[in-house]
């Protein structure tokens, strides 16, 4: 598995730059790519979410705004330019910092959250060879980086000097840190079985055996624990208690507006994408086609697996998972903060630990 970083290094070798310049150039290129991915993801996902929610709620959603006169079709694609218009609106909005807020931290917070999401993308493969930098400990790196954001959330809540924000930040800290544990335990299962933290190796294991979700009943359960915990990790309904618009106004984002708020939004949707891609790579066979569900087909059938289609499979799986997350959001009420903790500590963690034990047994026996 080669990374974009490596291939760029090779292909730019003809420039005869010294190493420092070369690395800077490549980092710049890589960073731009990540930023574009995040921005496009947010644009598309917000539009998608609006339409999904609208259809589930017997509405039509955005129908008016178009791009360059093109308004989209009658139903689903109507108002295709809405999120673009929203983005422009957010960027041109007045930037408000409350008078008695801690200005430095308040400005800093969105960037911390943003860089948490940004850095995670470095180790995240979109397909076999489409990864910015290929780590040996890719899984570990992703889990570590995706929890950086919580610092930003606490800073945002604290520095706003608003009681609602503070509540939101405290809830978010408790929630995100708690849900790290079931996520970690579920991913540990995969590491035990495949014997590697390298995402490429994990997919390799699934290629030779089967999708990990079908490894054993315990792996099946682990997938759900992982997925629901990530819903909580990304602060989405039914676990959106840090935002809880009917209780805390807007939680830790209450005092933010304009560009800074847009950064929160960007990172929220980026986090969604990250956890869904990780789920599809680790549990759902990554860039492998659905034929790898159970490996019993003859060799010649696997033409669907080519490197070109890898990206397609990963994104398809991720999009389906994102849709499920949205589906959750527009179906369920919100949990209370103590119930949220109950679900984590009294349901998910015991189950995840039991899973770990039984999967180890399973590996010993079979």
């Amino acid at each position: 598995m080669t990374s974009i970083f490596d291939s760029l290094q090779e292909s730019l070798a003809f420039l005869n730059l010294d190493l420092f310049m070369l690395l800077s150039l490549i980092s710049l290129l890589g960073g731009t790519v990540i930023f574009l991915v995040m921005a496009v993801n947010a644009l598309v996902a917000v539009y998608f979410e609006r339409k999904v929610s609208a259809f589930m709620q017997d509405r039509l959603g955005p129908m008016e705004v178009g791009i360059l006169g093109f308004k989209g079709g009658k139903k689903f694609w109507g108002g295709i330019g809405q999120t673009l218009a929203d983005a422009i609106k957010l960027l041109t909005k007045e930037d408000i910092l409350p008078k008695s807020s801690d200005k430095f931290l308040m400005i800093l917070a969105p960037f911390i959250i943003f860089s948490g999401a940004f850095l995670t993308f470095i180790g995240l493969p979109f397909a076999q060879n489409i990864v910015i930098s290929d780590f040996n400990i890719g899984l570990f790196y992703i889990v570590a980086m995706s929890s950086v954001g919580v610092i930003g959330i606490i800073l945002a809540g604290w520095s706003s000097n608003n009681k609602w924000s503070l509540y939101g930040a405290m809830r978010a800290a408790a929630q995100i840190i708690s849900y790290e544990i079931p996520i970690g335990l579920s991913l540990l299962l995969v590491v035990i079985v495949s014997g590697s933290l390298h995402l490429g190796d994990i997919v390799q294991w699934q290629e030779t055996n089967r999708w990990f979700i079908f490894h054993s009943p315990f792996a099946f359960l682990a997938f759900f624990i992982y997925f629901i915990s990530t819903v909580a990790e990304t602060n989405r309904t039914p676990f959106d208690i840090p935002e809880a618009e009917s209780e805390l106004v807007a939680g830790w984002m209450t005092e933010y507006s304009g560009f800074r708020w847009a950064l929160f939004f960007l990172s929220e949707y980026a986090n969604m994408l990250i956890v869904c891609i990780v789920a599809s790579i680790v549990f759902l066979g990554g860039w492998l086609s659905p034929l790898h569900l159970i490996n019993i087909f003859p060799e010649s059938w696997y033409i669907l697996d080519g490197p070109a289609l890898g990206f397609f499979w990963v994104s398809l799986k991720a999009v389906i998972l994102i849709f499920v997350m949205m589906w959750f959001r527009w179906t369920f009420p919100r949990l209370r903060v103590d119930q949220l903790m109950y679900v984590c500590w009294k349901v998910f963690i015991p189950f995840a630990l039991a899973n770990l034990f039984f999967v180890s047994l399973w590996e010993l026996i079979f």
Binding site: D58, L60, T331, F332
Partner: protein, 486 residues
């Protein structure tokens, strides 16, 4: 343990039920979509569009409409309105005159001319109560029997609140005059003038008079425009940092502002500040003709906070403010204008003279000037102020009379905006002499009962006490204090 598991099972089951439902709505159930894409699709109109019978009347409450030809000015609708949003004036032709007011469509002979039929839709609460009592069926929410004539009007909007006042009467001034409505016309004109006065004010405090002296015109620009006269600031007698905004060059502006701030912090007065600014600018070598003229303009009228300033720079935008100069001239000399006088004592004297002049109907400006000269308090600033009004005085006299007329006929006298609230009776306790205190309190109560404003009450007090020879210095100070609002 089983309860724990049961809970989980029940939970998962209920989640799946819910998710199935939302998925159902996502995939089919499109017929349930309730969205109406408003500008493209419009609300269907309920189909009851037959006649004016109560049982058949098409009920859309969108906008009131009056078929004025049918109106007999019976005032039923005005009386029925709970929020007084309908106003009807009518003029009955004198007996024996041959004016024909017309017939209604119900063949009723009209006996009056409807000179005014206004409906303020911004106050209407769409209760429909005015529709029912009408004997001629001429007022209705649009959508009635004349729906084809008057479209159903869901969407009427205006930029100003005044725009929501709809006038339905179409009687010409001629017709009204013929019917003997001169008096009504005069009253209407007074009201209109008053209204227009308010419109020009745009809600700003009327306390400081705009500068009547034309703005210092920059010689080398062909056209210069005075900014709307209403842009006066409340802190009269002070130079403001905003005044320098007219300087076009950024650098110069910065220097000027810096110098201004420094000078202001030093507690200098306007002239000294300007000198400082000029000094700073010439030190920096930035002094140009343009700036000089601006500074000159500022120093010429330092008592006016924002001098009507010159649009600096080459390209001058001509903002036509045709009414502004006229409005300036027509502004009446008000007692509050005297607040601009710095010296407390002088202000008191001036106000006293003003009130006295107002009562006796003399020329107020002259009276004030005389009183001040007698007291030896007439300084240049005050002189300027008075001069600014003496020109206007002649023209003012006509509207003043008109206003008096209006006052005599109307109960509602507009209270001067910006006057301070009436002070408490306890504030008079500072007066030492018992007799004086008692007298003052009596006057105060009388004033309060008749609903006078603070300045009026104080003027009364002053007049009353002077008459009794009880107005000593201490009392005067107290009154002055009250007059200035603390």
């Amino acid at each position: 343990m089983s309860e724990y598991l049961n809970n989980i099972v029940y939970g998962v089951k209920s989640f799946l039920t819910g998710m199935k439902l939302t998925m159902d709505h996502f995939r089919n159930k499109k017929e349930l979509v309730a969205t109406l894409q408003y500008p493209h699709e419009k609300w269907p109109v309920p189909e009851r569009n037959i006649g004016f019978n109560h049982s058949e009347y098409n009920l859309i409450r969108s906008r009131l409409h009056v078929d004025i030809d049918d109106c007999i000015a019976c005032m039923q609708c005005e009386r029925a309105c709970p929020v007084d949003c309908i106003k009807i004036d009518s003029i009955k032709p004198p007996k024996g005159s041959e004016i024909d007011c017309g017939m209604t469509s119900n063949d009723t002979q009209k006996k009056m001319i409807v000179s005014r039929f206004t409906i303020d839709m911004s106050e209407c609460m769409y209760c429909n109560l005015c529709v029912f009592p009408c004997p001629e069926d001429c007022i209705y929410m649009v959508g009635g029997p004349n729906a084809e004539k008057h479209e159903i009007d869901y969407e009427f909007s205006q930029y100003k609140r005044d725009g929501m006042i709809f006038e339905f009467a179409d009687a010409t001034d001629e017709a009204i005059r013929d019917a003997g409505g001169e008096k009504w016309l005069d009253q209407r004109d007074v009201k209109l003038a008053k209204h227009n006065d308010g419109v020009e004010l745009k809600g700003e405090v009327k306390s400081v008079k705009p500068d009547p002296i034309t703005a210092p015109i920059k010689t080398d620009t062909p056209i210069s425009t005075a900014k709307p006269a209403t842009q006066t600031s409340e802190s009269s007698g002070e130079l403001e940092i905003k005044s320098f905004n007219d300087i076009s060059d950024k650098m110069c502006r910065g220097i000027a502002k810096k110098a201004f701030m420094a000078a202001k912090r030093g507690g200098k007065d306007a002239v000294a500040i300007l000198a400082d600014v000029a000094q700073a600018l010439s030190d920096a070598g930035k002094m140009s003709d343009e700036i000089q003229s601006i500074l000159d303009g500022l120093s010429a009228s330092p008592s006016k906070a924002v001098a009507p300033a010159v649009e600096a720079g080459g390209d001058v935008k001509v903002e036509s403010v045709p009414d502004a100069p006229e409005a300036v001239e027509m502004k009446e000399f008000d007692i509050k204008d005297l607040n601009a006088i710095e010296d407390k004592m002088a202000r008191g004297t001036a106000k006293k003279a003003f009130i006295a002049a107002k009562r006796s109907g003399e020329d107020k400006v002259e009276a004030v000037r005389k009183a001040l000269t007698d007291a030896g308090k007439l300084d240049t600033a005050t002189e300027d102020l008075l001069n600014s009004f003496s020109g206007a005085a002649a023209k003012v006299s006509a509207p003043v009379e008109a206003e008096k007329l209006a006052e005599s006929t109307e109960e509602a006298v507009v209270e001067p905006v910006g006057d301070l609230p009436l002070f408490e009776i306890a504030d008079l306790n500072g007066i030492d002499d018992k007799m004086t205190r008692g007298m003052a309190k009596k006057i105060f109560m009388a004033g309060k009962r008749t609903g006078k404003t603070r300045t009026e009450v104080i003027a009364d007090l002053r007049a009353g006490l002077t008459e009794a020879g009880k107005l000593d210095d201490a009392t005067n100070t107290i009154l002055n204090k009250l007059g200035s609002g603390n």
